[in-house]
Structure formats: C-alpha cells, structure tokens
Amino acid sequence: MSQVADPLVATPGSRKGTGRRPVRHDDVAGLGKLRAGFFVAPALALVGLFLVFPAVWTAYLGMTNYKLTGLSAKAPDFVGLKNFTDTLTDPAFHESLKLTLVFVLFSGILGQSLLGFAAAWVLRTTNKVVKSLIEFLVLLAWIIPSSVVSFLWVALLDRGDGTLNAILGTQGTSWLTEYPMQSIILFNIWIGTAFSMLLFSSALASVPPSQMESARMVGANTWQVLRDIVLPHIRGHILTNTLLITLWTFNTFTPYLLTAGGPNHRSEILPVYIYKVAIAGGHLGVGAAISLIMLLINLVIAAVYLRVLRERK
C-alpha cells in the first residue's frame, strides 16, 4: 500500500494548529484520575452521606452508653468496646442469632428459592392465561404493604375466629403462640416467593429449548434434564437469587408484626431483638453495637456469595 499520509487520519502533528486539546490519558476512558474523579464525585458524595456516614455513626454510637431516656441520653459516655463484648457474650443474642439462621435457612433459602423455582418450572408449560393469573396473585403477596399482609395473617391464624382454625376444624389453636417460628417462616415464604418465581421464570426462559430437547432425545428424565442442563445454565441466577433473599430475610422486621418476637423470645430474630433492646429497652448504644455486628454478618455473607459467583467458569 502507499505510504502517503491519509488527510482524513489525524496525525500528532496535525493537532498543533487547533489550539488547546485535552490530553488523552492512557486509562480506558482516557480521562485521567482528576477528571474521572470529578465525574464520580456526586455519586461518591451521596454514597458517603447516606451509606458510609450512617455506618460510621452506628459504629460510634455502639461505643457509647447512649440511651433513649435519662442522663446518658443527654450526654452519653464513651464506653469503648463494652457493648460489643457484652453482646457477643450474651446468651439472648446467641439465641436470637440461632433463630435468625433457622429463619433464613427455612424461609429464605429453602422455602422461597425452592418454591419459587418449582412454581417457575411448572408455569413454564402452563396455559398463558392461568400463568398470568397465578403470577399476578403471587406478585400481589409481594407488593401489598407488610402491615396489611400482617393483618391478613393475624386474621388467618387467630385463636378465636381464625380462618385456618375454621378450615381445619381446630378451634382454639393459637398458631402464633404455639408455633411462632413455623408461623413466621411460612409467612415470610408466602410474601417472598414471588421474587424467586419471577427471577427463575426469566432464567428458565434463557435456557435454549433445543438443549433440553437434546437431553430428552437421549432419554433423560426430568430430574436429569434439571441436573445436567437447566441448573448449570442458571447457576448465576441461583446464586444471585440466594444472595438477595438471604440478605432480605436476614434483615426483615415484618415478622414482629405477627409475633412481636414472642412468646418468651421464641421468634425473636435479630432485627426484632435489636428493636427490643434499642427502642423498647431504650439502650440505643447497645442497639447500635448489635446493628453493626449484623452489618458485618451481612458483609461476610455477601463476600462469600460474590466469591462463589466469581468462580463460575
């Protein structure tokens, strides 16, 4: 080819006459640290104001004896790590953490994920009208305000005139006090399954039908199709879904509206425990300390999931 310079291609020399041209840096966007920093500054400011500052403030409060009422409400004293060590050695906290893990495992990971997946799998081949109807109903459980949902469930499980007792013919059974954990687990599954169902519905739609048919052609049964084709395909979706619902379930406060953590702390999951210590008990400093511990647990969970997610090939 000829070596004559193409007039349309800018050469370094041709820039000279055009005056001040921004210097192109050799990072991906060509902006350089200073200008790039300028662009992200507003976002960083918002993140700092609404996420980092409250976390730091919580950490600070956790190291004081700040209370809702009394002298230390006016002038809290710095008490160092006392709140943290007290909490970590408190049997009530241990019990609450255990209940929370049970709650997350059964209502989130097992209940919502499995039920959501099963619903998505079955609805895949269901008639369109029926499918839309069921999706709408399930979604309704998710979008109705929790206070309303809680009222419905109280009405359902009530000892005297509860719908469930009427259906089962078990008048006088107080589900919320006799089976508090089971009640809030079912309650949370009922609310949250919609998310998993929708997520898995779209995940399943992304599996090429020809691959499932290929497996069927060689005689694979439903379980084998799921194991060998579908699950490997939607592995990323499964992990994302598990991460989200683990965190949501871990932090949900709504079960308080059903059982208020009772009876006798038997359904006192961490968010409820914090509420009782900080607001009902007035120990804001201790509450802040527990909150920070919870935040750290969340971070660990998220880190583990992200790690697993990154390992996918």
Partner: protein, 360 residues
C-alpha cells in the same frame, strides 16, 4: 438400522392448524432422505414428530418393525442434531459426546472410550477438552454429529444441518455429511429449505407445502418431472419458466407465436385447441441462437445476469419473459434479437386448474 413409515400422520396444533396433514411416507433403511419445502410447510414439524418431540394427533409412525407413535423420544432409537447444535456449554467436547451414554448409565471409561473413537472419526482429535464456545461453527457441528451417532442410533434426524454455517463451509460440510452418512449407513432424515442442498445430498426428497406432501422422488425425478407447478417453481437454482397460456391445434401459443406440442404428448386425450395450460421449461433446457431457427420463439434480450461459468439471459417474447441459461462465451448483448428453442424432452405441461403435471 431401520426404515421409517408414517401412515396418515396428522399433527394438529391447538386452533386447528395442521403442521402435518395426512402424511404417508416410507423412508427406506439406510436412505438419505430430505424433507424440503418453504418455511412453514411443516417439514420441521414432521421431523420433530418422528423424533417424538411433538405428539401425534392421529396416524402412526413405525421405525423398523416397531410402532413408536406413543413412545418417548428416548425410547425410539432415534438421534437428532438440532439446527443450533444444542451443545451443552458447561461440558467439554468429550462430555458432550458421552452425554447420551451417561444418561444410559454406561460406565465412565467405556463411554469416554466411545466418545474418543467417534470423535477421531469426525476429526475432533485434540479438541476433546475444549468447551463448545472455543470451537468454530464447523467443529461444533461435528461435535453435535458425533454426539448423535456415538450411540449407534437406528435413525438420524438432522434439522437444517447446514444453515448455521457460512457459504463456503457449507459446501465442505455437505460433502462431509454425505460421506459420513454413506459410511455409517444409518437411515437419515434431514430438513432443509434449500433445494440445492436437498438435490445434492438426498437419495430421495419429499417436497412439502402447507403440511401436505407434494412430491416424493429422487433428486432427478423432482428436478426433471416435477409433479405440479409448485414443485416445478421451487426446485432448481434458476426458477423454471412457467408460462400460463393456451393450446393451439397441436401447438402451444406463446404470445403471437406458436411452437409444436412435444411429440410425446401428441396422443394424450384432452389436449384440445383452446385449452388453458401452463407450459414449463427450465432455463437450462432452453437454447438460444442469434440466427433464425425453425420451431423456435423469437424475442429480444432484456437482461443478462452473470452466474460465473454461465449467464442467465432474460428474453422478452411478446409479453412473456423467458429465462435462458447460456454458457459464458455465448451471452448476447441486451437488445439483441434472438431465437429460443425448447428441448422437447424437457418441456412440461401443467393443468391450470389443478396445477398437476399433464406430461407423463
């Protein structure tokens, strides 16, 4: 190895649309059989019904001596290669090929041994540890073929086997596919919308339209003796000249001109003067001359399309446009007055009403 027979096979979709309508086809043992037709003609539906992926509405399918109409896909002794190959992206080539045997609970060493043997037969040595996304289109197709034939099926089904390859690779794969089929001797049914592909590969072709069989025959038969105007127009790289016209006394009228009826038709009853017919002749079977000839049609060249070693010449005879293939050195300039002679043997007459061929 087995023959496939369908009897009055119907596949009706909800809403009453028939994908396959009263199909009676026998595909012989070891035959390379093409289902050919335009999109939406039901050829893929027929293939999927044979595979067992679609339920039969009525009629029966037998493979060998077994009635497989109500059997599950996995129990029919049938393998299928999908248009997109449907390789499992999370498995390497070896595991993909071995997967059918894994489902059938063949021991690990045994199935990997078979996978390697089949793979080397299809020039996949050295690719066994790769993932499908690390393979070229042609390699992916060979993996899909290896997976389908590794279990020695009675019947091999191919859905548009060449359509995902680029043009040059397609020709290569075509030869390869024909060789493979001949070596394995497995009854093979493939679906295609490309008539050239069907003519090149198949021992016999079933031409379909709207779920119905139009013609069943060897490539030579469907090319030379299309049973109706649809098949005549569909088969052939250059579309057949189909002229709706009327008969004179022992002649065919083309515009103001007349050419004699082919002698083979002279004794046929019903070919009276004035009868409306469709005259069909392939561009390859028309001859062009710049000198006046007897028994020919005269017209003017309008367009010349270069086809490489030959040219497609459009000639306007009265109001009728005829296309003629001439070799590359003989192409006339547009505007030239030319004489067109139809090969008598290759002139076909079709009924205007039924569109069926009249010529025996």
């Amino acid at each position: 190895m087995a023959a496939i027979t369908t009897q009055s096979l119907v596949k009706e979709y909800p809403g009453g649309v028939r994908g396959v309508d009263e199909m009676d086809v026998t595909i012989n043992d070891g035959e390379f059989f093409a289902l050919l037709g335009p999109s939406g003609c039901g050829k893929t539906t027929l293939l999927r019904t044979i595979a067992g992926l679609e339920e039969t509405t009525s009629g029966t399918i037998s493979i060998g001596n077994r009635d497989v109409t109500d059997l599950n896909p996995g129990d029919r002794g049938v393998s299928m290669v999908f248009q997109d190959y449907a390789l499992f992206p999370h498995m390497n080539v070896e595991d993909n090929i071995a997967y059918p045997m894994r489902v059938r609970k063949v021991a690990k060493e045994a199935r990997h041994k078979v996978a390697h043997e089949t793979g080397s037969g299809l020039a996949l040595d050295g690719l066994m540890a790769r993932r499908p996304n690390q393979l070229s289109g042609g390699q992916q197709q060979r993996v899909a073929l290896a997976r389908a034939v590794a279990t020695r099926p009675d019947v091999l089904l191919l859905d548009e086997p060449l359509s995902n390859l680029d043009a040059r690779l397609r020709l290569e794969a075509r030869t390869f596919l024909k060789e493979l089929q001949r070596d394995l001797g497995v009854t093979t049914v493939f679906v295609t919308h490309d008539q050239a592909e069907a003519l090149a590969l198949a021992d016999r072709i079933a031409v379909m339209k709207s779920g119905k069989l139009q013609q069943l025959g060897t490539p030579r038969e469907v090319f030379r003796r299309p049973s109706n105007t649809f098949v005549a127009g569909f088969i052939g790289s250059n579309p057949m000249n189909l002229v709706t016209t009327t008969l004179g006394t022992g002649t065919i009228r083309i515009g103001e001109q007349e050419i004699p009826l082919p002698s083979s038709l002279a004794d046929l009853p019903g070919l009276d003067a004035g009868r409306s017919i469709v005259w069909g002749v392939r561009p390859e079977y028309l001859q062009l001359s710049e000198d006046p000839l007897d028994v020919s049609l005269t017209g003017e060249v309008t367009v010349v399309e270069n086809l490489g070693a030959s040219c497609l010449v459009s000639v306007l005879v009265g109001d009728t446009r005829l296309q003629v293939v001439v070799s590359e050195d003989d192409e006339p300039a547009p505007g030239t007055k030319v004489w067109v002679t139809a090969s008598e043997r290759h002139s076909l007459l079709f009924d205007t009403e039924t569109t069926e061929r009249i010529t025996p």
